[in-house]
């Protein structure tokens, strides 16, 4: 079993996951994440597109301070992870962790797809999932 890092953030798992946003009841504007405050009543929970294009990116190469609680012994080696922005066409640009075999091969504008990532295990050993985007393999010419 696994669980999501937060409620109302995404539904499903892996490539069938869907990111959740809010649509303003007043003007139809999309927001992400879905508001977690009293503001939530002004928005409808909606699924966002699960594919988009890479808007920008970087690689996190040192262990962040708290509240980061990703996997690994704080004193041990740290595995870098990608962080970038994905443009969901006609909707919104969302910030996301990036899963990629080769960060140097990332290019702005390339197609990306939503997935989920077990970024840590909780105290009972259960994986905790967050959302991530990963490059869509280009079909070979």
């Amino acid at each position: 079993m696994s669980r999501a890092v937060a409620d109302n953030l995404f539904r499903g798992e892996g490539r069938s996951a869907r990111l959740l946003g809010g649509r303003s009841k007043a003007d139809g504007r999309l927001v992400f994440p879905f508001p977690h405050s009293a503001d939530a009543e002004n928005f409808d929970l909606v699924e966002l597109a699960n594919e988009g294009t890479l808007w920008s990116w970087t690689v996190q190469r040192f262990r962040p301070k708290t509240p980061y609680n990703g996997r690994g012994d704080p004193d041990g080696p740290f595995t870098p992870y990608g962080v970038g922005y994905i443009e969901l066409p006609g909707q919104i640009i969302v910030e996301s962790r990036i899963l990629a075999d080769d960060f140097d091969a990332l290019r702005i504008g390339q197609p990306m797809a939503l997935t989920t990532e077990a970024y840590r295990e909780d105290e009972t050993g259960e994986p905790v999932l967050t959302y991530a985007f990963t490059p869509i393999a280009e079909p070979r010419a």
């Binding site: 890092v5 937060a6 953030l9 946003g21 927001v31 992400f32 994440p33 977690h36 405050s37 808007w55 920008s56 990116w57 970087t58 690689v59 996190q60 190469r61 040192f62 962040p64 301070k65 708290t66 509240p67 980061y68 609680n69 990703g70 992870y81 962080v83 970038g84 922005y85 443009e87 006609g90 909707q91 919104i92 640009i93 969302v94 910030e95 996301s96 962790r97 960060f103 702005i108 970024y119 967050t130």
Partner: protein, 380 residues
């Protein structure tokens, strides 16, 4: 209409000073500013002061003297210093006061800044999953900017090289050793495309500036640069700022563009009038982007300008003549005031080995989370 002048300036060297608290460093800067102007603490009618991690700025009161003066603590992220000077400017402009002091000091733990999601109105998962880092924002912003505007990574290296070169000539800087561009480029990557030399670090330091109306200045027989403009603006819809889990597809202006436009209008001056500029360089890319956002060039022109040495001391537009945040570090409460301090030194011809010859107009811009910018224009 009253003009406002900076008639005294003091600084505690930036960097790391073991055994001296942030407040100690603030008090040091206050005393130096008072000595610079030949004034007493009891002459000060008001104070605006800020510190992010070193306690409330008004803790300076028992150290300097409990005179009963108006003292306002300022907390406005990395733009705290810019906010303090705006407070002092407005206090005199209003006619209520004619002599006062603005203060900033800080002392941060080593390493990147801690971020608290709740304090920024953001959900806990945003921090827990490792996306709430200022370093990531700057790296994401410059990655896209470089791709869209044809700027190569060596330009990032040249900005850092200039910073350490200038820092080696500034008595108040932290980094005193020049670092060559190849060392900078080949250093450990922190957040691609930025290596460790391309990021500033949280640090310590203190700055104090004494502001006076022109009438009071003359009465006291003092002199000093005139504040032609002081403006702060926050992020508009469509901007790309730090700690943004999402962005609108339709892009808009930045807080810096709004603040600089307001400053130019207030000063009745434009970028071409500036002789020396201090631009927020949280990392190398920020200096490059802020050159355009403040109106000093068009997007993409930085590549050639920096290669040609335009922003070096001796160039047409020297930028960050004391090494900026890269060479001085970033004590949040003091950082924006350091920029103004450096311009005061330049305009008073006290820049020594880093002096910009004949500098008459100085410009400074500080940027802070969660998306605000403060600009100050000084005239000799």
């Amino acid at each position: 209409m009253t003009d406002i002048h900076i008639v005294g300036a003091g600084i505690h060297p930036f960097g790391r000073t073991d055994g001296r608290s942030g407040l100690d460093q603030g008090v040091f800067a206050i005393q130096q500013a008072l000595d610079d102007a030949g004034l007493q603490w009891s002459d000060m009618q008001f104070a605006f002061g800020g510190s992010s991690a070193a306690g409330a700025a008004d803790a300076a009161l028992p150290r300097m003297g409990l005179t009963g003066m108006q003292f306002i603590n300022v907390n406005n992220g990395c733009a705290t210093g810019g906010s303090s000077i705006l407070g002092g400017y407005a206090a005199i402009k209003s006619g209520d006061y004619d002599l006062g002091i603005v203060i900033g000091f800080d002392k941060h733990p080593r390493g990147a800044f801690n971020a608290d999601p709740e304090a920024s109105g953001l959900p806990r998962w945003y921090g827990e999953t490792g996306m709430m880092l200022t370093t990531q924002f700057f790296a994401n912003k410059i990655t896209r900017y470089m791709a869209l505007n044809g700027i190569g990574s060596r330009t990032l290296g040249l900005v850092a090289e200039k910073a350490f070169e200038n820092g080696s000539k500034a008595p108040h800087s932290w980094r005193k050793q020049p670092v060559d561009v190849d060392t900078i480029m080949n250093a450990q990557m922190v957040s691609d495309p930025l290596t460790k030399y391309m990021f500033c670090s949280p640090a310590e330091g203190g700055v104090a500036l004494i502001l006076a109306s022109d009438r009071k200045m003359r009465e006291l027989g003092l002199s000093g640069p005139k504040v032609r403009a002081a403006a702060i603006r926050t992020r508009p819809t469509g901007s790309f700022e730090v700690f943004s889990p999402s962005l609108e597809i339709e892009r808009g202006q930045s807080a810096t563009q709004l603040a600089s436009a307001a400053a130019w209008e207030m000063a009745g001056l434009g970028p071409d009038d500036v002789d020396v500029a201090q631009l927020q360089d949280t990392e190398s890319g920020a200096e490059i982007m802020h050159m355009a956002e403040n109106g000093f060039c068009k997007d993409g022109e930085q590549e050639k300008m920096i290669a040609d040495g335009v922003t070096r001391i001796g160039g047409r537009l020297p930028v960050n003549t004391d090494g900026g945040c890269l060479a001085c570090g970033e004590p949040i409460g003091a950082s924006g005031l350091r920029q103004v301090y450096e311009n005061v030194e330049q305009l008073r011809g006290r820049g020594d080995r880093r002096q910009v010859e004949g500098a008459r107009i100085g410009y400074s811009q500080v940027y802070g989370a969660p998306g605000l910018s403060g600009c100050v224009v000084l005239e000799r």
